[in-house]
Amino acid sequence: MDFFGDEEEYNTNVLAIIQRNHELVPGALCPAASATSSPSPRRRHRRRRSISMAGAMDLPAKGGFSFDLCRRNAMLAEKGLKMPGFRKTGTTIVGLVFQDGVVLGADTRATEGPIVADKNCEKIHYMAPNIYCCGAGTAADTEAVTDMVSSQLQLHRYATGRESRVVTALTLLKSHLFSYQGHVSAALVLGGVDVTGPHLHTVYPHGSTDTLPFATMGSGSLAAMSVFESKYKEGLTREEGIQLVSDAICAGIFNDLGSGSNVDVCVITKGKTEYLRNHQLPNPRTYVSSKGYSFTKGQTEVLSTKITQLEPKVEVAEGDAMEE
């Protein structure tokens, strides 16, 4: 009964905020509302109780994304409320198949709009001892989805007693992403070697996949793909493969604003995986003053001054101060 009251209050508050911001007429706000004024939505809520209940409560019991508030969000966006942004990886990620296995590569810059949020983040995620996955898109989404599938693969390994296969990871990822209809913004390059051989796949946020001998994803994918298209050939050796991947990532780092900092490489072959974190550091901090930096007073120009009292000065009214 409690949350029932809360939900009503909540909706009334939301509408009040929109009203204040946009000075709209109450009647126009809720197309679903009756002709009577908004302060009595009680009847409407009662009918919708079974659906709205879950939205107002804590996490739904089944887990997963709750679409209950999407209608409200759409209404708010329509009325002009700006949706909050999220941190994206604005990335260059690549993968290629060489004669003994696969090589994956990624840059290490994470961006939040125009700001570099992390200068050396890890975009190559562990899925299984023989399978790794590079992630582009929303950082939280790539982390969460790769962690989840990695966990599922571990349980599957225990149940079957066998090494995980790349197609298993692929299918788990694509079914998850498809069921969220593209709302999980994760674009992945998945590579590994299993009993059936070396495999390389790309996975798109809506759940489609491709199987390729070489692949690039992210904002720097065009720069990286141009390197691959001109220099890739079948049967590359390990050194050639690593060099080509590094060149492609560097192309992304230097020509795309969303990618930068260092090159991470991961080489997967039958029975052995090497994760070469920061394989190349083409963007070192070149000038660091050994004396340190000191900023003396007077170096910064003061444009204006405003003083706000934190403790309000209380004026004592007439009469004895001891009187109540």
Binding site: D147, M148, S151, Q154, L155, Y158
Partner: protein
């Protein structure tokens, strides 16, 4: 037995304060094949008899000792199918713990969660208790550990323990032979001798299973050839 009219319903206490169904579950465990475990100074060993109902059964398809996480293993006495369900649940719980805390689950936590599952089945409608007792062996930051979990959901930490058919003889034998500073290899020999004590028939590398975990924290089930080596050392 005045308790008999209370013995069919799990969720009803008998006048003597017992849940008779749990007693029956313990009886089921007590008629299962013997299993035992020993905690040494530098590791843990668990073992069980692997008597198959007929010589036609393919013994390579049966594995009674299972891995729950890379550093925790488990063996049972009682009903095999119940064991499989518990193993599946425990593995999932270990994964969920890792997803939540990004830390590999400590042995005590996994034991607690498994015990909680077993307890649930003693207090719900329409279910029966699990007919297994588990011996969970693990090695984590608190060193080597050995726990027994009963169908009621109670758990105990042991230095050495046995369960199943031959429990009293095995425990007496272990009490005599156990020393605090035992090394893992000695513990394995003691285990084999204890199993031999109660074994009807000839013990061999194919009709016992042994699982060990050393300070490298990797739980492994010994292969028949490795067991053979230990058997020869004991003889």
């Amino acid at each position: 037995m005045g308790d008999s009219q209370y013995s069919f319903s799990l969720t009803t206490f008998s006048p003597s304060g017992k849940l008779v169904q749990i007693e029956h579950a313990l009886t089921a465990v007590g008629s299962g094949q013997t299993s035992l475990g020993i905690k040494a100074a530098n590791g843990v060993v668990i073992a069980t008899e692997k008597k198959l109902p007929s010589i036609l059964v393919d013994e390579t398809s049966v594995q009674k000792i299972q891995t729950l996480t890379p550093n925790i293993g488990v063996v049972y006495s009682g009903m095999g199918p119940d064991f499989r369900v518990l193993v599946r649940k425990s593995r999932k719980q270990a994964q969920q713990y890792y997803r939540l805390y990004k830390e590999t689950i400590p042995v005590t936590q996994l034991v607690r969660e498994t015990a909680a599952v077993m307890q649930e089945f003693t207090q719900s409608g329409g279910v029966r208790p699990f007919g297994v007792s588990l011996l969970i062996a693990g090695y984590d930051d608190n060193g080597p550990q050995l726990y027994q979990v009963d169908p009621s959901g109670s758990y105990f930490s042991w230095k050495a323990s046995a369960m199943g058919k031959n429990v009293s003889n095995a425990k007496t034998f272990l009490e005599k032979r156990y020393t605090e500073d035992m090394e893992l290899d000695d513990a394995i020999h003691t285990t084999i001798l204890t199993l031999k004590e109660g074994y009807e028939g000839q013990i061999s590398a194919n009709n016992i299973e042994i699982g060990i975990i050393r300070s490298d924290r990797e739980f492994k089930v010994l292969s028949p050839s490795e067991i053979k080596d230990f058997l020869e050392e004991v003889e």
